[in-house]
């Protein structure tokens, strides 16, 4: 396999694509159930911790004065970041006509939706009185009380809500033709489900035209949204007055970090799906190779923005910010800070080598390492500033308790569970877009096959059946 140079083989037949992808949605095997049990176990840890925290108070998480935020907010940023990859692949690469995204964008888009569903839980979990969480929404109240529209947390609620709705819609709209394929191949209750979901898709000309338009409009709508969401999350920090948070470069820095961890997340899921569902024909090594190159480029942007932040603090001569920066490099948090720099800026250089980019197992490990680095990055944004800011009397370091760790770990279980449901309900490889990709490539590389297989109404008939037979063999 490693000598494969084409993104996808042009001789895959439509029926085989349907068959391969639909097979991944059939009755699950043992490995699937084991994964479900593991995810449920992780999730139950989080539920236990959350129930305990809800009943006792936020103190059990070992949040304290002045460490009022902890892993909850760090992990919230982390998950929001993960969500950006889907939009990158499905929208940005769509309008730039990078067709290699087609076999892998569907699960990336699903990742967007589910990571947002995970991320959205964290601001709720971290509230002291979470039963009043709906107060941040501008609903009509008899008392005429509105949220404070100046607060970045309110912007967060709007931004995440909008992004979640749009990305879920985008995921759904993009899968309608595939859901129709499922409908045509399903029986029993599944048939009913997919009949409803596919909205009467027949695949005629008019439907495709409208579909294309809707998809393009959604893609164009989603790109600025994705950029703004993480910019707004960054303004939770950038809009504050605190050293280490009040940083002008935070919005681009957060967006770069988001795309970075998102791409690493795609690589992880790429490897898992390829392995579990035998998607070797679609999730090919050249596509992995391209994804890794993209990740590498974004990693360098992230590194550059980090350096910009450091140097602007250093030359800015704001003594408090400078002291905090020095403290990050040498103080209590320094092991984590250095680990973040190593994992985020040094480890990606492994992706400069083609041999590593094309190695499934190596990339699996590296992508997870990168994401650990990015998670540490978010923690290093939240933690050190709270431990040492302006008031020397309030300098203190505290570490998260098991409650925080359980909820953080449980969020991975929650995401995993959502994703496991997804792979069995919606095709995790976009069948119609893979066909499209092959179709276009055939027209470029194999005119002979294309002329036989993709005859339009006006085209001349090929001489005999010889051409088609040749393709079959």
């Amino acid at each position: 396999m490693s000598d494969q140079h084409k993104d996808i083989n042009e001789d895959i037949r439509w029926a085989k694509i349907n068959e391969d992808v639909l097979r991944s949605m059939e009755n699950p095997r043992m490995g699937y159930w084991v994964s479900v049990v593991v995810c449920l176990a992780l999730l139950s840890l989080a539920v236990i911790a959350e129930v305990y925290q809800y009943n006792t108070g936020m103190g059990v998480a070992n949040l304290n004065w002045p460490q009022m935020w902890g892993l909850y907010i760090a992990t919230f940023i982390f998950w929001i970041g993960m969500s950006h990859s889907g939009t990158l692949l499905s929208a940005i690469l769509h309008i730039t006509h990078a067709d290699w995204r087609k076999p892998i964008y569907r699960f990336a888009e699903a990742m967007t939706t589910f990571t947002l569903m995970t991320a959205g839980l964290f601001p709720i979990i971290h509230l002291g009185r979470l039963w009043n969480m709906y107060w941040v929404l501008p609903y009509y109240s008899d008392r005429g009380i509105w949220p404070n529209f100046r607060s970045p947390l309110v912007w967060d609620a709007f931004a995440i809500g909008t992004y979640l709705t749009s990305s879920a819609l985008f995921l759904y709209i993009g899968s309608i033709p595939d859901l129709a394929i499922c409908r045509d191949n399903a029986r029993g209750w599944r048939k009913k489900l997919y009949t409803a979901l596919s909205l009467g898709w027949r695949g005629d000309d008019r439907q495709w035209r409208h579909f294309r338009k809707a998809y393009l409009i959604m893609a164009c709508f989603l790109i600025p949204l994705a950029v703004s969401v993480h910019s707004i999350v960054s303004s939770d920090f950038a809009m504050s007055i605190m050293p280490g948070w009040h940083v002008t470069t935070f919005p681009p820095y957060f967006v770069a970090g988001a795309l970075y961890s998102g791409c690493a997340g795609i690589i992880t899921l790429f490897v898992l799906l390829r392995y579990y569902f035998r998607f070797e024909d679609y999730m090919t090594l050249p596509i992995l190779d391209k994804t890794c190159k993209l990740t590498f480029a974004i990693a360098m942007v992230w590194t550059y923005l980090n350096l910009v932040e450091f140097s602007s603090v250093w030359y800015g001569h704001d003594m408090v910010a400078k002291e905090l920066l020095i403290d990050k490099f040498t103080g209590t948090y320094s092991p984590y800070f250095w680990a973040m720099l190593f994992l985020g800026s040094v480890v990606p250089f492994t992706m400069a080598f083609e041999k590593i980019r094309r190695s499934i197992s190596a990339m699996f490990v590296i992508s997870i390492l990168l994401n650990i680095g990015m998670w540490l990055d978010r923690w290093m944004i939240v933690g050190p500033t709270l431990s040492a800011s302006y008031e020397p009397f309030a300098f203190s370091v505290s570490w998260p308790s098991w409650v925080q760790w359980f909820i953080v770990i449980g969020s991975f279980g929650w995401f995993g569970l959502l994703f496991l449901v997804f792979v069995k309900v919606i095709p995790s490889v976009s069948m119609y877009e893979v066909k499209e990709m092959i179709f276009h490539r055939r027209h470029i590389a194999h005119k002979d096959i294309a002329s036989v297989m993709h005859r339009r109404a006006g085209d001349a008939k090929p001489s005999g059946e010889a051409g088609l037979e040749g393709v079959k063999s």
Binding site: N64, W65, M68, W69, L127, L130, N148, I241, Y390
Partner: protein, 290 residues
């Protein structure tokens, strides 16, 4: 905040900090703390606990950072290196004390970040905290450069005031439950009572009539509390108060990030003034022999 209200009063709301923020102040409660007089006895802290129903969290939780001291006495020690080659072997002058409570900033950083507007500026110039509205996002505390906001990490009612101690709780204000942020209010319940009394008697509030618990308790009278509005816009508020006189005497002006003073006798400063938070607590520097 009905639509008519917004449309009618929009220009009033959108006035920024550069214009001094909200203009129609009734009062502007501020204070002066003379550090020369402060002995660090902590009587004010005790008074604050008694007056404001502050939870007594116990030694362990205090060490965990769950204390609720709205007023705290910060201690700062001499640097061993005195400069010019001299090294202090002992702490000659003992600690320097800095009583810190909410600075009631006029351009408070905690106010814009609260998602539900649970903390806002009152026409009294106070930075108010509405416990009922607070959802506990703790953003205000994170954005307070002085770290003067305290969060109810637990429900302290039963452990802090076991019967019959609950009988001594101050009925003029609430006992806060878990998940709510709280901070010094300048004893707003006392201000309210005095204002109501003055209104009933159809007169203005007098200077010195409002006394927060800490000011009342201070044995050395290090703290002076009063309306400082008349130095800001003459003819309004309580006129010619002692506090305003001290602000004027030490030439500290509201709305400025830096005070330009020539006379070394003028000891007034505000904590972290450069951040442009515009605090309303004036500290008078401690004068010491080196």
């Amino acid at each position: 905040m009905s639509l008519e209200n917004i449309l009618t009063n929009w220009s009033k709301y959108r006035k920024g900090a550069e214009e001094g923020g909200f203009h129609d102040y009734e009062h502007m409660w501020g204070r002066v703390i003379d550090l020369n007089k402060c002995t660090g006895c902590s009587a004010c802290v005790v008074a604050c606990y008694a007056e404001n129903n502050l939870a007594v969290v116990g030694k362990d939780r205090f060490a965990d950072g769950h204390a609720m001291h709205w007023l705290r006495i910060e201690r700062y020690w001499d640097e061993p290196d005195l400069g010019e080659g001299r090294v202090a072997e002992f702490q000659h002058h003992g600690a320097s004390f800095l009583p810190m409570h909410c600075q009631q900033c006029n351009a408070a950083t905690c106010e814009p970040v609260c998602p539900v507007a649970a903390t806002y500026h009152t026409p009294d110039g106070l930075n108010a905290q509405v416990y009922n509205r607070c959802i506990g996002s703790r953003y205000c505390s994170n954005n307070c450069p002085y770290r003067l906001r305290y969060f109810n990490f637990f429900s302290y009612y039963e452990s802090s005031w076991p019967a019959p101690l609950h009988m001594q709780l101050n009925p003029d204000l609430t006992v806060r439950d878990k998940g709510v942020m709280e901070k010094c209010t300048f004893c707003v319940q006392r201000i309210r009572a005095v204002k109501d009394k003055a209104k009933m008697q159809d007169r203005k509030v007098l200077d010195g009539e409002v006394q927060p618990a800490c000011v009342q308790t201070c044995p050395t009278s290090a703290m002076t509390f009063g309306d400082i509005l008349d130095m800001h816009s003459p003819g309004k508020g309580v006129e010619n108060t002692q506090a305003a006189a001290l602000w004027r005497k030490h030439q500290v002006e509201l709305g400025k990030a830096k005070q330009v003073k020539q006379d070394p006798e003028l000891r007034g400063y505000r904590v972290l003034e450069g951040l442009n938070t515009d605090p309303k607590v004036l500290f008078l520097e401690r004068v010491r022999e080196v």
